[in-house]
Amino acid sequence: MNPEREPFDPTLEALLRKHSDEMPSSDIDAAILAAAHRAVQSAPRAAEKAAEATSPWRWWMPLAAAATIGAIAIGVFQLMPEEPEPTTATVVSDTPSSAVAVPAPNIPPPPAASMNKDKAEAPRGKVRADRAAPAQAPKSNNERAAAPEPFPARERDAGVRESVGSAANRVEAESKTQTAEQDNAAGALMRREAPRAPAPAIAKQSAASADAQVASPEQWIARIRALLADGKSEDAARELIAFRAAYPDADARLPAELHVWAATVKR
């Protein structure tokens, strides 16, 4: 016999089991069960809502956390510095030999405000240029110049000028860029005049050459006759030398009366 059940009479237990079988009425059962169901369907829900209001893990919080992490990751990728790529070299090598790229030092420095902007945008511009380079390869020089390129505005303007292939335009572009470079210096004027101020001898030769390009042999001869008539034999000799330089057969074109004098002028 189980000591925990002692004293225990099995016969008594069986009799009681058989004859003690009262149960609550079905109405009471229904009332209690209904109350139990109401308790977990109404009050507990209110309690759960109150708990959810203060719970740190409401249903949308994992989604919000995921969205935040994604946004941060995208931002980090955007802000990451990209590797330097030889964009400029590629572009320069693509340009034809007739259209020489404007050297970087000749590009006038942008204002301070725009400089910062250029610095910020420069890496993206380089990347876009490299990505567009293969597609631009079969284009002609003019198309390449006309197509939008990722260079700064002034550099892009210079490139357009270069693509025309005109030496005069090239010189003009150089002079403009040089002029823009020397806005603040007193010696700017000198540097600006420098290419236009040759040495005297060279200037005379250049003038003679320029005259030779424009003057006909008859004009040379008329000018020499006038100088000799005025008694300016030295000037007449220099004109003859210039005439000979412009026209190798200048002596043969001279009139007979000048042959003797021309023979005295050294070649």
Partner: protein, 216 residues
């Protein structure tokens, strides 16, 4: 993204665990009560089905009035529903449930000005007083009963037991509680419970003996 997936998985697992129903037939009483406390109404249905008869008869034997028993019985279960959130399986569920029932009965009789369930037989020295208690009218030899009458006589004999003995006997018989559990529930020593049970059993056995003789 890995962190986000882990967070979502934890939330899903937590939600699933909270809503997961228990297997009602095989679940223990305390598991059913915890499931009900977490919102599983079906768990309460199973729990009520298991214990409604025992609690009802326990209440009925103490108050002897089916109307009052209905009222007290309903109060016991309503109280169980009300305090479900504070239930902790530190003891056997039946001990917890019969404690609710006993407290309700005590409160009722206290409100009526009666002092019941107090022990008059907690000591062996009280044996003579127990024996001196008036016998049930059903003890009369001329009583002859059929099966129905036997049942009525049994119930009358139970009702005639001293309250403390009846309380211990009913807790053992209807609630299936052990000596120590009854001792804990009633707040007395195990030996006292054992004594009460012995007296109650002897009293009922004598009743049964006479009845058995009457049926012959």
């Amino acid at each position: 993204m890995t962190v986000a997936c882990a967070v979502a998985a934890i939330a899903a697992v937590s939600h699933t665990a909270r809503a997961m129903p228990v297997a009602l037939d095989d679940a223990r009483d305390d598991e059913l009560m915890l499931a009900y406390a977490n919102g599983d109404a079906a768990a309460f249905d199973a729990l009520y089905s298991r214990h409604k008869g025992g609690i009802y008869r326990y209440v009925l034997r103490h108050c002897g009035n089916s109307g009052l028993a209905d009222e007290l019985f309903q109060d016991v279960w309503m109280n169980a529903i009300r305090v479900r959130a504070s239930y902790a399986p530190t003891a056997k569920f039946t001990t917890w449930l019969y404690t609710l029932a006993r407290n309700r009965i005590v409160d009722h009789w206290r409100a009526k000005g009666h002092a019941i369930l107090m022990s008059i037989d907690s000591d062996e020295s009280m044996r003579s007083e127990v024996d001196a208690l008036p016998a049930s009218i059903h003890d009369e030899p001329h009583v002859r009963a059929d099966n129905k009458e036997l049942a009525m006589r049994l119930k009358a004999s139970l009702a005639a037991l001293p309250p403390a003995q009846r309380d211990a006997f009913m807790l053992q018989h209807e609630g299936g509680l052990s000596l120590s559990e009854i001792a804990t529930l009633t707040g007395v020593g195990a030996e006292t419970v054992k004594s009460r049970l012995r007296y109650a059993t002897a009293k009922l056995r004598s009743e049964l003996g006479e009845l058995r003789e009457a049926f012959k």
